[in-house]
């Protein structure tokens, strides 16, 4: 209604009153709270409230688990109320970048592993730039770019992935997805010993399951992972059904004959202790 009508004096007031009249006759949305309880989504978490037991004692043990799991680190444990009980502070997330530094966990004095900070350690981008030029900054050759980056840096540094993303225009998440979906690309730095175990039906029949379990226990990781001390990687290899009497276990690509669960555990333990002699099985 922007025609001549809009120029009439008082038209704006009339329009406003019309809206009021419309709202006057439409159904009310107010919920009579204590009598009527609105349905809440099962995923709704609402405000964090500390629980008290029947005796009125606070159940919170200030374990910091809520503070630790909060993705933006705005939960803070601290302060006491009038009855000398802990309570939880939690504030808006505007300044969470600062709060990350003064997070309650860090203030508690315990050493806090901070993967996000370590992973972004800067690298010398020279070799990477050369690779990118040679591969024409082409995202369609991403696999080759990543393989060559891994060759140049001995692993895939997160900083390199981000630089590739900037330079090629491919999404970081897409590059990260490619890097994690191919088992030969890896993020852990350094050369490590590699124990391979075959998981084919033939080897499983010959006891590969028990050997694998022994290896995983001794290395404290699963197939595809690296032991926590970074000494040994556990991977899958393939026998192609050739195994006859024992499952195929390979150390750095060399078949280790006569491998039982106990000997596998011994091999893994000695590799972690740095006393292994490859090939002397």
């Amino acid at each position: 209604m922007s025609g001549p009508l809009a120029k009439l004096p008082g038209w704006g007031i009339a329009k406003g009153m019309l809206f009021t009249l419309y709202r006057f006759f439409s159904p009310k949305v107010t919920v009579q709270y204590p009598e009527v309880v609105q349905e809440i989504s099962p995923k709704h978490r609402g405000r964090l409230i500390l629980l008290y037991d029947e005796a009125g004692n606070l159940k919170c043990e200030t374990c910091f688990q809520c503070a630790m799991s909060c993705p933006i680190e705005i939960i803070d444990m601290g302060g006491v109320d009038t009855k000398n009980r802990y309570h939880v502070h939690w504030g808006p997330a505007e300044q969470y970048a600062e709060r990350r530094e003064e997070s309650p966990l860090r203030r508690s004095g315990r050493p806090v592993p901070d993967r996000s900070f370590q992973a972004w350690r800067s690298i010398d981008l020279g070799p990477l730039d050369r690779i990118l030029v040679e591969e024409d900054y082409d995202p369609r050759r991403m696999l080759r770019i990543l393989e060559r980056t891994q060759q140049a840096y001995d692993h895939l540094p997160v900083a390199a992935l981000q630089h590739i993303s900037h330079a090629t225009g491919a999404w970081y998440s897409e590059i990260y997805g490619i890097a994690t979906s191919y088992p030969h690309l890896r993020f852990e730095p350094g050369r490590v010993a590699e124990i391979g175990i075959c998981r084919c039906p033939t080897c499983v029949m010959l006891g590969a399951g028990r050997v694998r379990q022994a290896l995983e226990e001794a290395l404290a990781t699963e197939v595809g992972g690296v032991s926590p001390d970074g000494a040994v990687r556990l991977t899958g290899v393939e026998c192609g059904g050739e195994s006859q009497n024992e499952p195929l276990v390979a150390l750095d690509g060399q078949t280790q004959p006569g491998m039982t669960a106990d000997r596998a555990r011994e091999l893994a333990t000695s590799l972690r202790a740095g006393t292994a002699r490859p090939g002397a099985a």
Binding site: P201, R210, R212, G236, G241
Partner: protein
């Protein structure tokens, strides 16, 4: 893996030229063995439609495990209007315990390249890719040499044999885990994308590599094509099962006298194959089960070994054709443990795109491992069946669809053994260590 003699009366198609020429040698030697004769004779004189018709009439089905009619696949690709079409030869060989495709690629690379040329000619594709698993260096080298030799001889390249067709073939080494053997995942891997399957339809024959119509065939399928074109569809149809004719490579390992690979007719029973190809079960052992189709296959008990080697017949009893690998388990094997470890392997290799696959197979493994460590809950058998059905319903690719097979066929045919684990907390085979071993069972 050694090649074994085929059962009596099996025509030799796939392995007919193996050993007749040196795969590393010159092309002339391969010529003498019969390589490329079909291509040289047919390409200048026969139309693509005639080749397409021959393959359709022959009833050839894909050897990758699903058994889809190859002619229909080619037809769908050829009928799709496009500026460029692709043919992809899948030699990835996903099954960690099989090497039938690898044997073929290493021993007779020219048959695969020739089959690929015929396929590209029939569907009008100008580019072909042969995908070999990274690390399979011998096959990669020999296929590459075969392609280069064919290019030099004018069988591949621009304006092949004066027909006006361009067929450019490239051999690719594809890295990755088991799931890359699946066709849509393989295409994503060629495109240098994340190795995850795509929703089908649209099938790759309509929208495949770089959204162009693409034929994805197993290398074994392609290796059969020159023979079909040379000898005619009718002759191929006469071999083996009428609905699913031809020969295929099977690999029999495990507790048998002579593990190995052999060419067999489709539609023969599995039990006699174990006897004829692999010489039967090792002395001192008794056959307990045969795992047909690789890690996602099914366990068949001795009384089901009359099942025919055929995708439909195998699906009926809960197994799959898969990689054509059969593992013979003797009575010292605990099938609960073996099925559980198959689930573990598949959960390792799951790409994680669908949640029933990423979490469901892991849970199937956990249910199995509770059974093998004597910690089963009363609800576990039912939970397993429910979960298996859900995993199957959510399947995007073959890995997920077949994943519950080992546990399901185990529960179906070896109910007593599973019952012993789930309820009795004992292992009749004496394998699962924390369990009570049934007296006298394990020797």
């Amino acid at each position: 893996m050694e090649l074994r003699r085929s059962p009596k009366g099996t025509p030799s198609i796939l392995l007919s030229r193996v050993g007749l020429y040196d795969p590393d040698g010159p092309l002339a030697e391969a010529h003498r063995a019969g390589a490329w004769t079909t291509w040289r004779r047919t390409a200048p004189t026969v139309s693509p439609q005639q080749i397409l018709r021959a393959v359709t009439e022959s009833g050839l089905r894909g050897r990758g495990g699903a058994g889809y009619p190859t002619g229909d696949k080619w037809r769908a690709c050829a009928d799709q209007p496009a500026d460029v079409r692709y043919v992809v030869a899948n030699g990835f060989e996903a099954d960690p315990g099989a090497q039938g495709d690898r044997t073929l690629m290493e021993r007779d690379p020219h048959a695969i390249v020739e089959g690929l040329a015929l396929a590209a000619f029939a569907v009008g594709a100008s580019r072909g890719y042969i995908c070999v698993r990274a690390g399979n260096d011998v096959a990669f080298r020999r296929l590459g040499a075969a392609v280069r030799a064919a290019e030099d001889a004018g069988y591949l390249g621009s304006d092949v044999l004066g027909t006006g067709f361009d067929i450019h073939v490239e051999v690719l080494a594809i890295p990755g885990g088991m799931v890359v053997g699946e066709e849509t995942v393989l295409l994503r891997a060629i495109e240098n994308k994340r190795a995850q399957p795509d929703q089908r339809p649209p099938y790759p024959s309509r929208r495949g590599l770089w959204d162009r119509p693409t034929v994805v065939n197993n290398v074994e399928t392609l290796a059969l094509v020159p023979w079909i074109v040379a000898n005619g569809a009718a002759m191929f149809r006469d071999i083996g099962d009428n609905l699913n004719p031809g020969t295929t490579l099977v690999q029999i390992t495990g507790a048998v006298k002579r593990p190995g690979i052999a060419e067999v007719r489709l539609g023969t029973a599995i039990g006699p194959l174990v006897e004829q190809v692999a010489g039967g079960v090792r002395a001192g052992s008794r056959l307990k089960a045969v795992l047909v189709g690789g890690p996602g296959g099914g366990f068949l008990p001795p009384d089901r070994l009359n099942t025919l080697l055929d995708p439909l017949a195998l699906a009926e009893v809960g197994a799959i054709w898969g990689s054509g690998a059969m593992v013979v388990a003797d009575e010292r094997t605990c099938l609960v443990e073996m099925a559980t470890l198959m689930e573990r392997y598949l959960s390792d290799e799951s790409c994680g795109k669908t949640i029933p696959c990423r979490i469901g197979i892991r849970r199937l493994y956990e249910i199995g491992s509770r059974a093998t460590s004597g910690l089963s809950r009363p609800t576990d058998p039912q939970l397993l069946l429910d979960l298996a059905a859900d995993v199957r319903d959510g399947a995007l690719c073959g890995l997920e669809y077949c994943a519950p097979n080992p546990l399901l066929t185990g529960m179906r045919y070896f109910a007593q053994e599973f019952e012993d684990h789930f309820v009795g907390g004992s292992c009749p085979a004496g394998v699962c260590t924390p369990l009570r071993v049934v007296a006298g069972a394990a020797q």
